[in-house]
């Protein structure tokens, strides 16, 4: 991998200037490329997510080749954080101070996002989240330079709860990894599902990195729940699903996942068929724009886009539109103003960037893991689509009306 993935619009730039463009565009060209910094977890245990961000950026760069923004080429600069918040801040600071980026995105972990975005007002850069789900980023820890394009964790829990409110299942067990995301999502789910007059019959929080879910599986089975709400980090979810399948528990207690992602489906395979949950971006969304995106993605990378591939691509596309609208990529205040209350026609549907907390209001999806002979692995089939205003929490909170 080369250090900088230079995605130059050299042809466009030369063509445009040679056509005798207005003076202001010539000046913009003289300012150099628009740099987007991506301090992503490209190594270590969370690298599968950082790599999704990178894949999306690669495809986006290719799509941008003949366009540019405001006549300037786009340049992506990647740095590897290894999934560690201290390294993330260090790399982000380097991107800002040395490379002069004004936009940071592609950060994987919520803990990294919290640390980096807290510094963004001081650095005067915009932080765009396309992966981070922690509710606090648009609530308690909100700052003006932070924008969240992706579906948040509470929104995912909400989509699941809305679906389950109508479903015949009545009793639920909740199993969350013992850290912020697991705890918060289980709490959110618990409050919503009890409001829907259903029952939580047990909760448990296995440590991150649990190898053996035997004891938890035993408890789940004994609780006689209809479904188990799972909020486990990627690897742990894979292990749980396989072990639950080996115990035969998946037939008795339906796995319900806040995030139903392709990474799990590829690793677990058929043992997961029948699981339901929410997906931040299911690649099976049936719109012309999305079908085209999936096709281009598959051509470039040879696989189908997972959740963060899609969300990152949408974020980048929206960011570029916002920069065009603001007319500048250097005056961050103008970009922030242009982004607030703006709309975007995304792969999943319509997005609207709320001014009060910079959360993008977007559709939520309840999906089911099904087998389809056209694909080499199980895929997410959309069971229900919920409009943005039903799944997005109240401003600056993690609660729903």
């Amino acid at each position: 991998m080369r250090r900088r993935d230079f995605l130059k619009v050299s042809v466009a730039g030369a063509a445009v200037t040679s056509l005798g463009v207005p003076a202001y565009l010539k000046t913009a060209w003289a300012q150099g490329p628009i740099k987007i910094g991506m301090p992503a977890a490209l190594s270590g245990g969370n690298s599968q997510y950082g790599i999704q961000a990178k894949r999306a950026a690669d495809l986006f760069a290719k799509d941008m080749k003949s366009k540019g923004i405001l006549g300037r080429p786009v340049e992506f600069i990647f740095e590897d954080t290894g999934g560690d918040p201290a390294t993330a801040v260090r790399k982000a600071q380097k991107l800002v101070e040395k490379d002069g980026v004004k936009f940071l995105t592609g950060v994987v972990l919520s803990s990294e996002a919290l640390a980096v975005s807290a510094k963004c007002p001081e650095w005067k850069v915009v932080f765009m989240s396309t992966i981070n789900g922690a509710g606090s980023l648009t609530a308690k820890s909100y700052n003006r330079n932070f924008f969240r394009v992706n579906t948040s964790g509470p929104m995912g829990a909400r989509a699941v709860s809305l679906y389950l409110a109508e479903a015949p299942m009545k009793r639920f067990f909740a199993l969350g990894s013992d850290y912020a995301w697991g705890r918060d999502s289980v709490a959110s789910f618990t409050s919503q599902i009890t409001a829907a007059k259903k029952e939580i019959v047990g909760t448990d929080f296995p440590p991150v990195g649990t190898k053996d879910f035997g004891s938890y599986i035993a408890k789940i089975r004994q609780s006689k729940a209809d479904g188990v709400y799972l909020v486990l980090v990627g690897q742990d979810a894979t292990i749980y699903l396989r072990q639950a399948h080996q115990f035969g528990v998946n037939r008795e207690v339906k796995p319900i996942m806040e995030i139903l992602e392709l990474e799990n489906m590829k690793a677990v395979g058929d043992a997961m068929v029948g699981a339901i949950g929410s997906s931040r971006y299911p690649f099976t969304v049936d719109t012309p724009k999305n079908r085209d995106f999936v096709k281009r993605f598959h051509e470039m990378h040879g696989i189908y886009p997972d959740m963060f591939d899609g969300e990152t691509y949408e974020g980048l596309e929206w960011l570029v539109q916002v920069i065009q609208k603001a007319g500048t990529a250097d005056d961050i205040e103008k970009v922030i103003e242009a982004w607030e209350d703006s709309t975007y026609d995304g792969l999943e549907g319509q997005f609207m960037m709320r001014k009060c907390d910079h959360q993008a209001v977007q559709p939520g999806f309840a999906v089911e893991c099904v087998k389809d002979p056209k694909y080499p692995h199980p895929i997410p089939k959309i069971l229900a689509t919920y409009p943005g205003d039903k799944v997005t929490p109240k401003c600056r909170t993690e609660e729903f009306s």
Partner: protein, 286 residues
């Protein structure tokens, strides 16, 4: 009743897995006096190679033999090209060398296999569950318990009742003397290291159908293995067995009855044991 039996079997299965991983670690310390930080990565390598074997041949059982052999050879090669030169130095150097080797191997595995976890199906004989009265229990887990016992017995018998085992123990007790008496100390060390890595690889293959092969597997297991070995006493196979049972039980029942302590229960147990016996249950006073 069924619940108690289920928990017991879970504890035994986990203990079997832990023993496979920690036996090698204990041997390497007992005989080479080296704290092998790369041990977890050999375990991970075993799991990934198990995946490859099954993917290539469609058979699982051969993997139980082939993979440990491959991992063992790799371990022996690494030992003879790096560790061998620094035995005379203070122990911290050997420890850190293995740490460096762990970094190299772990990242190499990532380069070869990519970041997605690899699932391994158990062999058809061991798929599904067996019904024991009211209890339905996965067949594959029973294998782990049985394998752990079998390997433990085999290693112990080897060390106690064969000539080669005698030589190994002699080198452990006093390598210079053993050398004077004609033992090829360097070769013994290489073989023991290789055998320990093979055991770790076997642990990995055995674990893969239960946990999948994934990056971070090595880091995840190495601390558990250290705790087991320290509880049992470094250098003692019987100690590793005892340690595995204790840690397996603590983690299984801890997760069930005291879930909030799941993160630390194994350390608490270790701490308590070391307070009363600072060299582990069956370890030797230094």
């Amino acid at each position: 009743m069924a619940d108690v039996l289920e928990q017991l079997l879970n504890a035994l299965a986990l203990a079997g897995l832990l023993f496979l991983v920690s036996a090698g670690l204990s041997l390497v310390f007992g005989i080479l006096r080296v704290v092998n930080f790369a041990h977890g990565v050999f375990y991970m390598l075993g799991a990934y190679l198990g995946f490859t074997t099954v993917a290539l041949t469609g058979w699982f059982w051969p993997a139980l033999v082939v993979v440990p052999a491959v991992v063992g050879v790799l371990g022996a090669l690494l030992e003879s090209s790096t560790l061998r030169f620094i035995y005379r130095r203070p122990p911290i150097y050997q420890l850190l060398l293995t740490f460096g080797l762990a970094l190299i191997l772990e990242e190499s595995i990532r380069v070869l296999y990519g970041p997605t976890a690899k699932g391994v199906e158990p062999p058809p004989l061991l798929q599904g569950a067996v019904t024991l009265g009211a209890l339905v229990y996965p067949r594959y887990r029973l294998l782990l318990a049985v394998l752990g016992c079998a390997v433990g017995a085999a290693v112990w018998l080897f060390l106690r009742h064969t000539r080669a085992g005698l030589v190994i123990r002699a080198v452990a007790q006093n390598s210079e003397m053993a050398g004077c008496l004609g033992a090829d100390v360097a070769r013994v060390r290489t073989l023991v290291f290789g055998a320990a890595c093979a055991l770790a690889g076997l642990g990995g293959v055995a674990a893969a159908p239960m946990t999948t092969a994934y990056l971070g597997m090595g880091i995840g297991v190495i601390v558990d293995a250290f705790v087991v070995v320290v509880i049992g006493g470094l250098g003692s196979i019987a100690g590793s067995m005892a340690g595995s049972l204790i840690v397996g039980a603590a983690q299984t029942w801890g997760a069930y009855y005291l879930p909030e302590t799941a993160m630390v229960i194994m350390y608490a147990v270790m701490g308590v044991i070391l307070v009363f016996r600072p060299w582990g249950l069956l370890g030797e006073e230094e």
